[in-house]
């Protein structure tokens, strides 16, 4: 198993090495400094902003929020219209018809909120135009949205007695143009070299009658990973050989998932003029990731007792739903990365993971995807937990808590509490409805505790904007399409709104100079406190439901 260790070490090593220079670059972009790409892209940026009528004036938090919401609303409506009308539009070699309203709404919400929950099979439902001009566009724009929100929050920490949080339009355009587009372009070509297809042609048919679906896949897969979106071009997502043909393409895709989230920690450190703060958050994320990965990998490498009883040789481990080219190590690493982030791409079917191997991804999602997390959203989520960390520490010594010199008071803690508690509330209420309502029950496909886990996973994934699934659950029903769309909206904007309100409040405060009683937030002690807070909130909220699902299944499996 030493290649498994090598792969994990190479992965984390490369991720941490690449994240530092990329973080510096992103920091420069968000602070409006010139970069190496400016000679090529600045004219495009200027032209676009002029057409938009944007001068780049500072926005206070309400205006910033309004811009973000309007941008997402129009983007979502465009996807909805495209999906309803795709039957009458070009680039539709498979003659796909328009989608039913509940499915079109669910999908539009799903891609606009960076969830990419998919209750349709890509190659059986979507025209090429819907994929590239609808879904892939929101892959870019939803990621840019979260980078903009993060930038506003970080400016809230960095600025003193200021009302402005930056200009949302400038942040959205720059994030797309300078960060997401160039990286996607490079990744897309690297993926094609491995065998990911990229063509506007329809399916080919072989002499023996096998139909093989094709499409503009590489361009979409690149941003699907870099933007931690996760929506597959094909139903099987990154398990499909045309989306993920080789172990190297899988490695690159895993790297793409966590690259920007890790880099943003460094961008944050640079923007608050104390890079150690970024390192501390990155250290907490990395340590949590290693623990999760070790658990998944060890659970998946064990034989399935049911199959052992009928004499199946299982040196390869639990192979149902997995691809031979990735094996257990390449699958466990992917499953951990995709759920640590809000990505949700899968290179195996998570429904067939072993009980404990499935528990870890599920719990990573439920923690709020703050272990690296989604592009932008992971870091603003982790910063909320950092505020809880200083708040609890402050209570213990009886001092007003501070973070980066900003006093954390009642209003801030209210916003933090709303943002941290809303998604879990939606998860638990939604799961309860899913197992109580007669209209919902027939969707469950596996018997026993595993069936419960399918429902819990669906609402956890939607409310935390992950998008992966225990896909045996038939979620293409009106009940699931509407309730999960609601869960995705609450999970996304129920976090973004309090985060931006928090940013506005923080920006107005002055920065208190460090004193002897200040809790340093870059030390190993604070890293441990932060990890403890994340795990404690996650455990207190979800242990009972996990006991009913994967833990009960693990105990019953022999």
């Amino acid at each position: 198993m030493n290649t498994a260790w090598l792969q994990a070490l190479a992965y984390l090593g490369l991720l941490l090495i690449l994240s530092a220079p990329l973080g510096t670059y992103i920091g420069r972009i968000l602070e409006g400094e010139r970069t190496i790409l400016h000679p090529a892209l600045a004219p495009v940026e200027r032209a676009l902003l002029r057409l938009m009528g944007v001068q780049g004036e500072e926005m206070e938090w309400k205006a910033y929020t309004g811009a973000i919401l309007l941008f997402n609303l129009l983007g979502g409506l465009a996807v909805f219209a495209l999906l309803k009308g795709q039957g009458h539009l070009p680039l539709n070699p498979g003659h796909m018809g328009g989608l039913p309203t509940d499915l079109a709404f669910n999908t539009a919400v799903s891609f606009t909120t960076n969830t990419n929950w998919q209750t349709y099979g890509g190659e059986t439902t979507m025209s090429h135009l819907s994929q590239m001009l609808g879904l892939a566009v929101q892959n870019f724009l939803s990621a840019a949205t979260a980078i903009a929100v993060l930038a506003a929050l970080v400016r809230g920490f960095a600025r003193r007695e200021s009302k402005g949080l930056g200009n949302a339009w400038v942040d959205l355009v720059r994030s797309t143009l300078y960060i997401l587009l160039p990286l996607s372009f490079i990744f897309a070509l690297a993926l094609v070299s491995q065998g990911v297809v990229q063509t506007f042609a329809g399916a080919v048919h072989t002499a023996s009658g096998q139909g093989i679906a094709l499409g503009p896949v590489a361009s979409q897969v690149a941003i699907k990973m870099l933007g931690t979106n996760g929506g597959g071009f094909f139903n099987a997502n990154a398990a499909h050989p045309f989306e993920n043909p080789t172990p190297l393409s899988s490695f690159l895709q895993m790297l793409a998932i966590l690259l920007i989230p890790a880099a943003l920690c460094h961008a944050f450190g640079r923007m608050v003029r104390d890079r150690r703060q970024g390192w501390a958050l990155l250290a907490a994320m990395t340590l949590l990731f290693v623990g999760a990965l070790a658990t998944t990998a060890s659970a998946e490498s064990r034989p399935n007792p049911q199959l052992a009883q009928i004499g199946v040789a299982q040196p390869a481990g639990n192979m149902e739903g997995k691809e031979v080219r990735f094996g257990v190590p390449g699958t466990a690493l992917f499953a951990t990365a995709t759920t640590a982030a809000s990505c949700g791409a899968v290179n195996s079917t998570h429904d067939s993971l072993s009980p404990l191997g499935g528990l870890v991804p599920l719990w990573l999602i439920q923690l709020g995807e703050v272990v690296f997390g989604g592009v932008g959203s992971g870091l603003y989520g982790m910063l909320l937990f950092a505020l809880v960390g200083v708040f609890i520490s402050g209570l213990m010594v009886g001092r007003t808590p501070e973070y980066l010199g900003k006093k954390i008071e009642a209003f801030e803690m209210k916003m933090v509490s709303i943002a941290i508690l809303l998604p879990p509330a939606v998860v638990l209420v939604g799961t309860a409805l899913g197992v109580l309502l007669p209209a919902a029950l027939p969707s469950v496909s596996n018997p026993g505790p595993h069936g419960f886990t399918e429902v819990l996973y669906a609402f956890s994934s939607a409310a935390n904007n992950n998008g992966s699934a225990f896909a045996g659950l038939n979620a293409n029903t009106p009940f699931y399409n509407w309730t999960l769309a609601f869960a995705m909206l609450v999970g996304r904007y129920g976090t973004i709104l309090p985060v931006l309100a928090l940013a506005g409040s923080l920006a107005r405060k002055k920065i208190t100079p460090e004193g002897p009683g200040t809790l340093p937030t870059h030390t190993p002690l604070f890293v441990a406190t932060l990890m403890g807070v994340v795990l404690l909130v996650g455990a207190l909220t979800f242990l009972p439901s996990l006991a009913l699902g994967p833990i009960a299944e693990q105990l019953s499996l022999r």
Partner: protein, 200 residues
């Protein structure tokens, strides 16, 4: 809100969505497609295996095989448009989504074991796991080297060839981990079967 400020607010959103959609939804995929066709034409088109004008399949997409004289691919859970099992349907990828505790998982494995034993009654070796479990895509073109060697005796007998030659062919088609540490050792069944046809 007066009409003028409303349109002033709407303009950046509307133009922003349109402009960025054009950049990321039209120009970007067009540029990637153009460069991909120029740099990697075979891969961009689906790594197709051809014989003359005929397309035999894709090197990356498995096919359903039940000829005892060929190597079998893994079980596949893909369905046809009628909702019935249609293994290796590359127009509708997907896995079984059977949970680890689902009795159907063992039942499906038992059926598959029976098929393998019926085609190869003398083979007493334990059946390798990838020959009784469905892949996530339902299109897995690979099997493990153990699964290929398990089938070597059957293939040799059906083709009237010495088993040692078949095993050597499997060994020659076994790919190690990519770059030495990525992924699992594997055999591409599509390529192995094509090589088998040339063995006579």
């Amino acid at each position: 809100m007066p009409a003028r400020t409303f349109s002033a607010r709407l303009r950046p959103a509307l133009v922003g969505v349109l402009g960025l959609s054009t950049l990321t939804g039209i120009l970007y995929p067009l540029a990637v497609t153009g460069l991909a066709k120029a740099l990697f034409p075979r891969q961009a088109g689906g790594s197709l295996l051809r014989s003359g004008n005929q397309v035999l399949g894709s090197a990356l997409i498995g096919q359903a095989i039940n000829d005892p004289g060929l190597f079998w691919t893994r079980p596949s859970a893909t369905l046809g448009t009628d909702g019935r099992p249609a293994p290796y349907n590359a127009l509708a990828s997907g896995g079984s989504n059977l949970g680890p505790s689902n009795p159907e998982l063992a039942r499906a494995a038992q059926i598959r074991i029976a098929l393998l034993k019926a085609a190869d009654p003398g083979n007493q070796a334990p059946v390798p796991v990838d020959l009784v479990t469905a892949s996530g895509s339902g299109l897995d073109p690979h099997i493990t080297p153990e699964a290929a060697l398990y089938q070597a005796g059957r293939v040799a007998r059906a083709r009237g060839l010495p088993e040692a030659g078949i095993r050597a062919l499997v060994a020659a088609h076994t790919e190690g981990p990519q770059l030495g540490f990525l992924g699992a050792p594997r055999v591409n069944v599509m390529k192995l079967n094509l090589a088998l046809a040339e063995l006579r």
